[in-house]
Structures are given as C-alpha cells and as structure tokens.
C-alpha cells in the first residue's frame, strides 16, 4: 500500500495537490485546507465557481506556457493557445470525471486536442456511449479509492520520470512536449527509428511499472 506520509521530501505543488486532495475529506479543522485541482474542477463544473477557476488558472497557466512553448508553437500564438485551453477548461469542466483522470491529465488532453484542431486535423475518438463499443464485464464498478489513486499515481509517475536515464527522458520529452512522432524524433536526433522505438518502449515500460506499483 502506498504510504503518502513517507514522501515528505517531495514538496512542491504536486504534493500540495495530493495533500489537499487527501485532506479534503478528513481534516476539516486544518487552517485554510487546500482544495485539490480535482475539487476545483468539480466546483467549476457544478457551481461555476470563479475562485476555484482562478486557482486553476494561476496554477496551470505558467505550466501550459512552458509545456506548449516546447512544441513548434510560434511565441506570438502561445498566449492565445494557453487562453483557448483555459477557456475550454472553464466551458467543458462538466466533462471532467475524477474517476478517470487527474486534473492535470485532463488538461493535458485538452491542450493536445486543441493542438490537433489548430493543425486542422481530425482526432478519431472512442465514444463510450456508442452501443457498438465493447465494455469490460467489470466496467461500472469503480474502485472506491480510485480518485485518491490518481493523486498517488501522479507522485509515483513524478519520481519515475525523474529517475529515467537521460537518453530516455529526452525522447519522452520530445514525444509529449514537442509534438513529434517516432519517425520525426529519429530524424531530429539522427538515430535509427528502431533505437527511438526501443528507448521509448523501455521508458514507457518503466513508467507503467511505476504506476502499477499502486495495485
């Protein structure tokens, strides 16, 4: 079982988020309990809570700027892009499901989809409500602590990403942040495609193993 208390050296906003998350239910007496990003998103979805959205805006705007800047994004359009992503966060907050993803993962997918829109590409997506979509027999029985597990998973992932060897973390960064496919990374780094694929695969296996440490 994951021991949240054993990671006090992590610090930083990520830990704040998880502590806020964990504190939300069981320590109401604490001075100014920190609302998690997930709580804030739900408050935006349910109550159109401007203060909750202001906290999300303050937290995510600089991160989106530095995350999206590394893509092939002209500086002039960076502000517009970040604004559009935050606009979608406000307008589509009711499609956020804390059982499925953390707030930062959901916002990552919004930013990714916006980038695809800008490239005038379509993104084919699964429709879970489509009667032709197949579901697991166990579907519809979310784990009771599934919400908490996203916060814990974020911490495990953070450690796992930090401990990747440099050649692997470079490629992971290019794949996620610079909007490059495997073959584009291969030509950027002047490496054989097979090498890029195997380094990425190794890195992803490590990250997936870290995430499964929860189970």
């Amino acid at each position: 079982m994951f021991d949240g208390g054993g990671n006090s050296d992590l610090g930083g906003p990520c830990l704040d988020a998880v502590q806020g998350f964990m504190a939300a239910g069981d320590s109401p007496g604490r001075e100014a309990p920190v609302a998690s990003h997930e709580d804030d998103l739900l408050a935006v979805a349910r109550q159109r809570d401007r203060e909750a959205f202001r906290r999300l805006f303050t937290h995510f705007t600089p991160r989106l700027r530095s995350f999206l800047r590394r893509l092939r994004t002209p500086e002039a359009t960076l502000d517009d892009l970040v604004q559009e992503v935050m606009t979608s966060v406000w307008r589509r907050a009711n499609s956020f499901d804390p059982a499925k993803a953390s707030a930062s993962t959901w916002i990552f997918t919004i930013a990714r989809n916006r980038r695809i829109d800008l490239a005038r590409r379509k993104r084919p997506e699964v429709d879970l409500d489509d009667p032709a979509t197949l579901h697991e027999e166990a579907d519809g029985e979310p784990l009771p602590d599934e919400q908490a597990s996203h916060g814990q998973m974020a911490l495990l992932l953070r450690d796992a990403i930090a401990s990747l060897p440099a050649d692997q973390s470079e490629i992971v960064g290019l794949a996620y942040q610079r909007d490059m496919s495997h073959s584009e990374i291969a030509s950027e780094l002047d490496l054989p495609l097979g090498t890029v694929k195997s380094r990425l695969r190794l890195a992803i296996v490590k990250l997936r193993t870290a995430m499964e440490g929860l189970d």
């Binding site: 303050t58 600089p62 991160r63 084919p124 489509d130 032709a132 496919s181």
Partner: protein, 221 residues
C-alpha cells in the same frame, strides 16, 4: 471474448500524444472501441502527459497577471453556450457492429456501400489525405481467401465482423494484425460469416502467388 492481437505500443503512444496521422489514428481508435485493455493503456499514457504538464517548469514564466484572468473571464462569459452534443444517429442492423469512429466515416449502411468486387473480396476505399496511404473496408466471403501477397510498406488490418486466419494466427473481431514488408501471407475468412475488416496500408500490396505475380503490375490495390 477478449481481443488478443493489439496495436504495437508505439502506435498507442503516438495516439496518446496526438501525433498519430489520421488513417492510423482512425484504425487505432476503432480498435480501442473494441478493446478496453488498449483504452486503459492510452489512459495511462495520457497520465504521463498529465505528469509532464504538472512538472513543466514555472520558473522563467511571468507571474500570472490577474488582470489577464479578469479579461479572459469577461470574454469567456460573453461566449454563446457550447453546442449541445448531437444525439447518436440511428444505426441499421447491418452496420450496428461497426463502432465509432469508423462508423461516422462510412458513406452509407454496410449493405449499401459502393462495394467493388474482385473475386471473393469486396472493397470500399474511404477518403484518406495522407499521401501514399490507403484506407479501405474489406468484405471477404465466408471461407474464402484474399490472394497471397506481401507488402511494400505497413498494412494494419482490424477485424470488425467475422474472423480470418493466416500464417501468423487467428484474428477475431477487435483483433488487429500488423503486417510489415517481410510478411508473405494469404488471409482466409473463417467459414460461416463474411469477414469485414478495416485496412490501412502505407504502400501498395504486392501479389506473390503464381498468378498474382503475373497480374500484379496491372492491379491497383
């Protein structure tokens, strides 16, 4: 029933990061509609993106301008509401087992598609704007085979209905076969039901049977 042949991990990763070109994203997403395991995998890969966003350095970024927040809010609150999500179009029974997103790309019901017949195989090409690539829906008559062929590039084949077998294994609904240029195969539909597949190719196929070698230069496949 579990899907046992999945897209290679690189395809799922490129789908999760948003870099996968459309015809491949179409076949991967259609596979995911039939494969909860790959949906979970993509959700995990998206969580890596979320963790990277969370870790993106704030340092060097200007302090968040609260005036910018107020300006954005007044702009956003003046926007018209999001359009309501359109209800799912009705599905006829022939097409009912073709999941979205592929179903949305079909120009007509499965029974009314402009099938082109070549022996036991009927084909419909779908629009594809990636140069050199082809997207097609295939319907192979029950118990019949596709001519033996090899590949000049990659061929991804997703079973939507029925099943087929070739030298590499047995493919059921939801299974995806990834054929590379080394594979020389002759897929044969299992008896009992026509096998409907979605196939994406990055280069023309090359017929390799005795007759196929003779007619290959004249066929556009």
């Amino acid at each position: 029933m579990n899907v046992s042949h999945h897209p290679e991990p690189a395809l799922l990763l490129d789908y999760a990061t948003g870099t996968l070109a459309d015809p491949f994203a179409l076949i991967v997403a259609t596979h995911m509609a039939l494969c909860p395991a790959c949906r979970r995998e993509v959700a995990a890969l998206e969580a890596v993106g979320g963790a990277l966003l969370e870790q993106a350095p704030e340092a060097g970024e200007a302090d968040v301008d609260q005036g910018a927040f107020e300006r954005m809010m007044s702009r956003v609150e003046a926007l018209p509401p999001e359009p309501a999500i359109a209800p799912l179009p009705a599905i006829d029974t022939a097409t009912a087992r073709i999941p979205r997103p592929l179903r949305d790309r079909l120009p007509a019901s499965l029974d009314n598609l402009p099938w082109r017949r070549q022996g036991p195989v009927e084909t419909v090409f779908l629009p594809c704007d990636l140069p050199g690539h082809r997207v097609r829906v295939l319907r192979i008559a029950a118990g019949r085979g596709v001519p033996r062929h090899t590949h000049r590039g990659t061929e991804l084949t997703l079973v939507l209905q029925g099943s087929f077998s070739d030298e590499t294994g047995h493919y059921l609904r939801g299974d995806m076969e990834c054929a590379n240029p080394e594979l020389d195969h002759r897929p044969v539909a299992d008896p009992g039901e026509a096998c409907v597949c979605l196939a994406v190719t990055s280069a023309p196929l090359r017929l390799t049977g005795t007759l196929g070698r003779l007619i290959d230069p004249f066929l556009d496949i």
